[in-house]
Amino acid sequence: MILAYTLAILLMFGLPVMAAVVLRRRAAAPWFLFLVGAATFAGSQAVHLPLNAGLTRLGWLPRETFDPAFPLWRTALLLGVTAALCEESARALGYALLRRWRSLEHGLLLGLGHGGCEALLTGVLTAATLSSLAALRGVDLQALALSPAQLVALSAQLQVFEQSPLAAALPLLERILALALHLVFSALVWRAFVDRKVVFYLAAAAYHMAANALLVMMAGYTDSLAWTYGALVAGLLPGLFWLVRLWRRERSPVARPVAPWKVEAAAFLAATRKELLQQWRTRRVLIVLAVFVLFGLFSPLLAYFTPQLLRSIAGAEMFAELIPTPTAVDAIGQYLKNLSQFGFILAILLGMGAVAGERERGTAALVLSKPLPRWAFILSKFTAQTVVYAGGFLVASLGAYFYTVVLFGALDFGLFMAINALLFLWLMVFVAVALLGSVLGMSTGAAAGIGFGGAAALLLAGSLPRVGPLLPGGLFSWAGQLGALGETPVPSNAGAVAAAVALILLCVLGSLAAFEQQEL
């Protein structure tokens, strides 16, 4: 079940990106448009969520969607109106700012970005919800302070773990349908700008409102997913039919000539090979391995010998008595602290020059005049860094595990590797942030500043209520809780894992989008 949902969430993340890749191979549409589409979604929610909260405070919307005191049709309509106005207006603002890009393919790429960002958010929330539900498995729900309605809803949700793994396809199907709807809305708003007719914008808003309202109504009237999805498909069909006809009529008559996939993939492999060779020749591999091995081995040793060291220092013997007898928990704590601190510094320092340095020296200009696509240039750098850090973590984790077992006794190998996997994912977020900084910064110094600033902002955002646990700090906390080796099961935080993957994806796409626009 967990595997099925993991796959479904990864597909939720990946499908809009894959669709964008296919579209880009047909038309000269930059990744920048995908990112603008994503920004229109994020911007719309920055207005939409407070607007709904304000309407709830005013008593126009119920605190819970299905409040008997509020007619369902009114709630559905109002929720539909706020979603449609916010999202379609944001989309229109995106088009208004992008005067250079006015082909249908450009409009669709914007729609994919908008729907893709929503899919990322939905994937993260699905993962977070599953995590929360997993923590409640086997718990006596009657002991929780829940209303009868909440109890029924929670029991129904917990059925998810009893269902067939195929049930994981449902949220994916819902996202695919939503993505198709976003493409239709985006094409309608595109027509509004191309034909200079506001009626198309109004049609997009009305369609969006109707689709949202329909979903709320269906959810209120029936528990049957088949009916709900059936209604969604029925609502989508007219729009899809219109979009297909529009595509046949308006698409660029000649497909953009592009190098075959095989050629681009071969160039990517050649660039990755060069990046790995560069990591080796410039001693970066050795630096990463040295730091990781040093702290991997040093952490359990330090934890074990600290009391003995203190006893050996004249005058400090009394401090040794204050320190409890070290255990494997202390070793893992030291390991997490050391590796996160030095890994973070390495990620920024080694990543800052990845693109900015090549641009400054002029090496990028020469190789990018060859058949090396810009996506391959960026992705090869991220891939090589991923391999190097994965190697570093592997060596460090094996060393630390060995010393911890020797010094402190048995330790669950799987658990220790899970801690390392979380720490690795945590670090890769900062590697991706450093890569983005390296693309955005016009010099290596500026890249370092942007990388450090972005990483610091992410770390600080970790203390925000509700959102914080989903940020990379949530991964670190989870690893820390696992490292405490407690008797009680540690609640998982799959939301933070999904959010980390989403952040990495956004940073890499952001790097591609920015680099594609730059002159060398």
Partner: protein, 309 residues
């Protein structure tokens, strides 16, 4: 399609600066095309637009019939590019760099290895093939730059100042190499060394302040300006060339320009008939000991200075 390279209204603006102004240019296939201009004239901007490293403000460009200004990467197989100051990975050896470039062009293993040895020999870097590029001189980097541009046997070569960092012997070798490609490969190269352009180019374009001033076959160009230059050589026994003589020459309305060196004076004229009647009497009248008087054709440098003045 007979042209290897074509620009239509190619324009590039950096803020307020118009670096390239509606460049319309056609380079015939198989020609060696010299692209001349002073510093900041727009030569490098043109090159960067042609290879797709910069985005045009307006206009389009094609290399070997494929548009390069719309982000189409398929044209990159069709040209080899050498920037003005080629930059390489200092940790690599030339052989490794060429191997990387060969892989990017998808050359099969055996062909790639053979071709690497060929181009290393061609640019005389075979003995340095195992050394790190980081320790190379400017001339060696330039030669490696030419090697990487030639590696995949492109039909078009775009060379930005290819001989600028080379010593006279290196320049001679590279020019011989480029001249040897005539008819097989189209060479489009910019240079401030006019003697190089004059030596191997069959067509010349002059660009100034972003605008194309002229495009003409070298011979036709030199012919057009033929015999408007008088060469005067003086007997050393007469002492240095008097400044008064030069000033007097410059004052004539039919004189375009006067340049003097130790050997003599070159007088470029606007009105050849008047000059032929008046020049010699004036020089003799100044009491100069003339040892040689001849009407010669101007150098490309003189034409360039005249056109771009």
């Amino acid at each position: 399609m007979n042209e290897a390279l074509r620009c239509e209204g190619l324009t590039k603006r950096y803020g307020e600066v118009l670096a390239l102004d509606h460049l319309d240019l056609e380079v015939p296939a198989g020609s060696i095309f010299g692209f001349l201009g002073r510093n900041g004239a727009g030569k490098t901007t043109t090159m960067r637009l042609l290879v797709g490293l910069a985005h045009p403000t307006a206009g389009r460009a094609w290399v070997a019939g494929i548009e390069t200004t719309d982000g189409d990467s398929t044209a990159r197989d069709k040209f080899g590019y050498l920037p003005e100051a080629p930059a390489f990975y200092g940790w690599m050896t030339p052989r490794e760099y060429l191997d990387y470039v060969g892989r990017l062009f998808g050359l099969p293993d055996a062909e790639r290895r053979r071709r690497i040895e060929e181009v290393l020999t061609l640019v005389d870097l075979k003995e340095a093939a195992r050394r790190r590029i980081g320790g190379f001189s400017g001339g060696m980097r330039q030669r490696l730059g030419i090697a990487q541009a030639l590696l995949h046997r492109p039909p078009v070569l775009l060379l930005d100042e290819p001989t600028s960092a080379l010593d006279p012997a290196g320049r001679h070798e590279i020019l011989e190499l480029l001249a040897g490609l005539r008819g097989e490969v189209t060479v489009f190269f910019s240079s401030h060394i006019l003697a190089d352009v004059e030596r191997i180019c069959d067509t010349v374009a002059i660009i100034h302040q972003g605008r194309l001033l002229l495009v003409e076959a070298r011979e036709a160009l030199l012919q057009r300006y033929a015999l408007n230059t008088a060469l005067l050589e003086f007997d050393p026994a007469g002492g240095p060339i008097p400044e008064k003589l030069l000033e007097g020459l410059r004052a004539f309305p039919w004189v375009e320009g006067v340049t003097a060196d130790l050997q003599g004076v070159r007088v470029v004229v606007r009105d050849v008939d008047t000059a032929k009647r008046a020049l010699l009497p004036y020089v003799v009248g100044q009491g100069a000991l003339l040892s040689r008087y001849e009407w010669v054709r101007p150098t490309l440098e003189e034409i360039f200075l005249q056109v771009s003045a």
